[in-house]
Amino acid sequence: MEIHLDKLPLKRVESTDEAGLERFPAEIATEEKRLDLIRRIDFSWVVEKDAEKARKRKKKSDKETDAAPWPWQGLTENLKLAHQELAVIIDLINTVEANDAVTVAGMTRPKQLPNELLSDLSVSAATKLQKLRHLGKYFKQSAEALEKQVDREARFYGSLLRLQENWKVKRQRQPVPGNEGFSFDLHDTSSSDSAFLTRPSPMSMVRVEHDPTGMLALQSSLRSYRRMHFGFSPESYIKAAQKSLSTKSDDDDNDDHRGGGGIMIEAPTAEAVDRSARRAHAVLREIHRAIFEEQVFDMINREIVDNPNGVNVAGMREDYLHLKVGPETSIYMRLQPSEGEAIDGADALNLPLGSPNPRGLEIYLRSLLQGRTASRGRPLAQGVSLLGYFCAAVAHRVFSVQVSSMLERLVEGLPYLRLQTQPTWHSRLSSWSLNLSVPLSMVNPAASDRPRIHTTNVLVTDELISVRGEGIPSIVGSAGYGSAINCYGCDLTDLPWFLLQQVATQVVSWLHGEAARMGIKASVDFLALCLELGRGERLRLVARVDPEAELSGISWWLVADGEIMPAADEGRTDAGNTRSESLQRRKFLGHLSLDSLYSLLMDLLRLSNPPSNGHSRS
C-alpha cells in the first residue's frame, strides 16, 4: 500500500527571482483539483486483479470442461462486480469528504424501475400483513381472555345472586386483593328474646372466594363446626364419634372426586355450576345449624344457671351436660365436632331398655327452642323454664314407656282384654284404654241395656297415673255400671293390681248380669260371684288377681259352701274355716276365658235346675 502525503493548503513560495520577488505556484481551479485527485487514485490494482481473476477463471474452465455450469454463476459474478464498484465509489466519496475539498451537495435517487417499485410495495405490504396478523392473534387472545372472564363472572355472580335469595350477603369495605370481599352473614337478628340473643358467633361470617374455575366457593371447614348430641347413655357419644369418623373418610373421597379437587381444564358446565351452588347452600345450612345448636346449648346452660329449679345437674363442662331426670334416668347433651351427616344411629347404640328414642327428644328440644324464638321469648307456662318443661317431658316419656310395657304384659295374659293406644299428641300426656269384650248373651241376645265392651282408660299426666273406668271396685261394695271414679295417686307398682281388679270386677259383674238373666239367684261380693243353688247350697266363683303370675293375671276358684254352714253371710269371708261344721270345698279352675266362664255358668244353671225342672228356663 502506498501512502501519499498531501501538502498543506498553504501558499508556499515556489521560487524567488533575482529581484527578490516571490513566486507562488499558480492556483489550480477546483475542478482541476478534483480531476487531479481522481487521477491520483490508482486503479491499477483493480485492473491487475481483474486480469488475475480472468486468468484463473480460464484455467478453471479449462480444468472443468466436463462440469455443468451453475445456474446462478452469472448472478454471483454480477453481484460481485457491483459490490466492487460500490466499494470503489464509497472509498472515493470518503476520500473526497475527508479532504474537505469537495462536499457532496446532494444525491438524487435514480428513478426506480417498475420492478423495484413493486418489490418495495410488496415488502411494505408483507410487513403490514404480518403486523396485522400479529394484531389479529392479539385480539383473539384478548377476546378469549375476556370471554373467560365474562363466563367466570357470570358463574360467580349467578351463584351469588342465587344464594342471596336465602342468605344475607355483605361486602367488606376494604376488599382483599384477588377477592371482591363478599361474605355471608349467618347471624340471626330476627329473635328479640334476650335469653337467645348472644354475641355473633365467629362462625357467622363466611367468606366467599373464587375457586380455580371461577365458581363461587366458601372459605369454611366443616370440621370446626359442632353439633349437639342427645342421649341416655354416655357411651353412645363415643360410638357415634367413631362411626362418624369412619363415614367421614368415605365422604372425603367422594367430595374430592365430586367437587373437582384437581384443576379443571375445561370450563365447568351449567350442571357443575348448579351443583356448586347447591353445595354452597348445603354448607351454609350446616353452618347455620351448627350456630343454632351452639346457641341452644348455650341457652340451656344459662337456664341452668339462672333458673335451676326443676333441673338436677349431675355434670357440667364447657361442651358437656349431664342432667338427672327422675331417680333412674339421665340425659346427656354434648357439643361434638360435626363430621359429615348427622348420626341417626344413636338410638341403635345400646339404648337402655325401655328408653324412648333420643333422636325424637332431640328434635323436640330443638323445636321447643325454635318455637320460643319465634314467639319472642314468651314462656311456655307460668314459672316454668323451657329446660324444666323439657326435662318433665323426658321424664314423662320414660315413665309412659314403662307404663306401656306394663300394660302390654298385663294384656298378654288375658285374651279377652285388648289394649288400645290413644295418641294425645302432647309431650306430657299419654293415654291407653283397656277394652273388655264380653260374648253375646245366649239367653237374651237382644238385650241392649248391657254394653258388650267395657272400657278402662289409663291416663298418664307427667308421672301421675289416673284410671277411669266402669265399676271400679271399692272396699265397701261394688259400684254399678256407669259410675266412674277417678283414681289418683296410683303409682306404677299398684297399677297392675288395680287394673286386674278392675277387669275382674267387670267380668264378675257381667257374670252376675248373665246369671240374673238366667234366673239364678246371684250376688256380687267384691271379686266373687255368689250363686245360690237351693237347699242352702251356695257356690262362689272367686277371681284371684296376681300381676306376678306367669300365664295370666286373673285366675278363678270355685268355692262351694255346704248347707250346714251356720250363716250364709259368714261364708263370704272366703276363709278355709274348718273349725265350724261348715263344709267348704275349693277347686282351682285356672285361667279361664270368658266363654269358659259362661259355659261354667250354664253348667251351674243346670246343676241348680235339674232337667225335669229346667226346660222352661233354658
Binding site: 418495495d120 410495495l121 415488502v123 411494505s124 405490504a125 410487513t127 403490514k128 403486523k131 396485522l132 394484531l135 392479539y138 385480539f139 384478548s142 375476556l146 372472564q149 365474562v150 363472572e153 355472580y157 351469588l160 345472586l161 342471596q164 335469595e165 336465602n166 350477603v169 361486602r171 371482591e180 295374659g413 288375658l414 285374651p415 279377652y416 285388648r418 289394649l419 288400645q420 293406644t421 295418641p423 299428641w425 300365664l551 295370666s552 285356672g590 285361667h591 279361664l592 276365658s593 269358659s596
Partner: protein
C-alpha cells in the same frame, strides 16, 4: 343508551328523599358517561387502526405504524376490560343496592316458607292421624289374630 335504568325507576319508592334521587341520578349519569367513553374509545381506536393499516409508499414508516397499531389495539382491549369492570360494578350494585327486588324476594320467600310451614304442619297432622289409625287397625288385627287368640287358648 340513555334510557332510564333500574336505578332511576327504583328510586321512586316511598320514603326515598330527593337527595337520594339526585345521588342516584348522578350515579346513573356517571355510569352512562363511562359506557359512552369506553364505546367511543373502542370505535375511535378501531378507525385509527384501519387508517394505519393502509400500505404507504415510504417503507421506513412501517415500524412507526406497527407501533401505532399495537398501541391502538391495546387501547381497544383496555376499553373492553373497562366495560367488563363496569358490568361487574352493576352486578354488585344489583346485589347490594337493589332494595326493591331484594324486598320482593324476601317477601316471596317468606310467603313460600309460610306455605311450606303450613303444608308441613298439615302433613304432620295427616301423618299423625294416619299413624293413629294404622296403630288402631294393627292393634285390632293383632288382638283378633289367631296368634294371640291361639296363644290365649293354649294357655287356657
Amino acid at each position: 343508551m340513555s334510557k332510564p335504568g333500574p336505578l332511576g325507576s327504583g328510586s321512586g319508592g316511598v320514603g326515598v328523599t330527593s337527595a337520594a334521587n339526585q345521588a342516584a341520578a348522578q350515579k346513573q349519569k356517571a355510569l352512562l358517561l363511562r359506557v359512552d367513553n369506553d364505546i367511543s374509545q373502542i370505535v375511535d381506536n378501531f378507525s385509527a387502526l384501519l387508517t394505519i393499516s393502509r400500505v404507504n409508499d415510504p417503507p421506513v414508516r412501517n415500524s412507526q405504524e406497527a407501533f401505532q397499531m399495537e398501541m391502538r389495539a391495546a387501547r381497544m382491549v383496555q376499553a373492553a376490560d373497562s366495560l367488563l369492570k363496569l358490568v361487574s360494578e352493576l352486578k354488585q350494585t344489583a346485589i347490594f343496592s337493589n332494595f326493591t327486588s331484594l324486598n320482593e324476594q324476601v317477601e316471596s320467600r317468606i310467603f313460600e316458607f309460610d306455605q311450606l310451614s303450613n303444608k308441613t304442619s298439615y302433613l304432620l297432622e295427616k301423618i299423625g292421624e294416619e299413624a293413629a289409625a294404622s296403630l288402631k287397625e294393627l292393634e285390632l288385627h293383632y288382638y283378633s289374630s289367631m296368634a294371640r287368640n291361639g296363644a290365649g287358648d293354649e294357655e287356657n
